[in-house]
Symmetry: C2
């Protein structure tokens, strides 16, 4: 399948802000995390067709694990706390293809 | 792979609006298309874990084919004109697993 994928890894950060008091990814630093990932991938020359794309997205509906991001086509779901976590996902998963087990959403 | 996917089909509509005069998906009806797809999937009881999720996303960087949407984990890229196209993608691809060849971005 991966041979036919336009992006080798397409990453979507939920950056949704709820305004009804319920928990959501946006207020947990999601936008900064997405920007950090995009910048780091650019520095590493990972961005582009056949390589990596870092996107923001609306609510991915896994709020209870938030903040969350998903990497396709693998369908690997991550949660993260800080930019060091983002760096680890970039360096391990996006550069070397090794998923970061400690940050994966298991259920 | 699909057995391990949280969503069987995860669809992202680019709803990006550029403000520099360059073409983008947003002004081409992308938000209305995303809302239409989400509503139709809800009517068909397709939304949810193990089934379908319809999201909006930032620029997917395939503006020249816009408006665009991508379905993961398949990595199928579509362009569309109207809600009839969206209905065909929902009914054929998301319900029956048959890609809509005439709407696929080929390159």
């Amino acid at each position: 399948m991966s041979d036919n994928q336009y992006y080798k890894h397409h990453v979507f950060f939920c950056t949704n802000h709820r305004d009804d008091g319920r928990e959501s990814c946006g207020p947990r630093g999601a936008e900064a995390a997405q920007k950090h990932a995009k910048k780091r991938c650019k520095e590493l020359n990972l961005n582009g067709a056949g390589k990596v794309r870092i996107n923001s997205a609306g609510c991915l509906d896994r709020c209870e694990h938030g903040p969350v991001a998903v990497v396709y086509p693998e369908g690997t779901w991550y949660t993260y706390v800080d930019t060091a976590d983002i760096d680890e996902i970039v360096d391990s998963h996006l550069v070397n293809g090794v998923e970061v087990e400690r940050l994966k959403i298991k259920e």
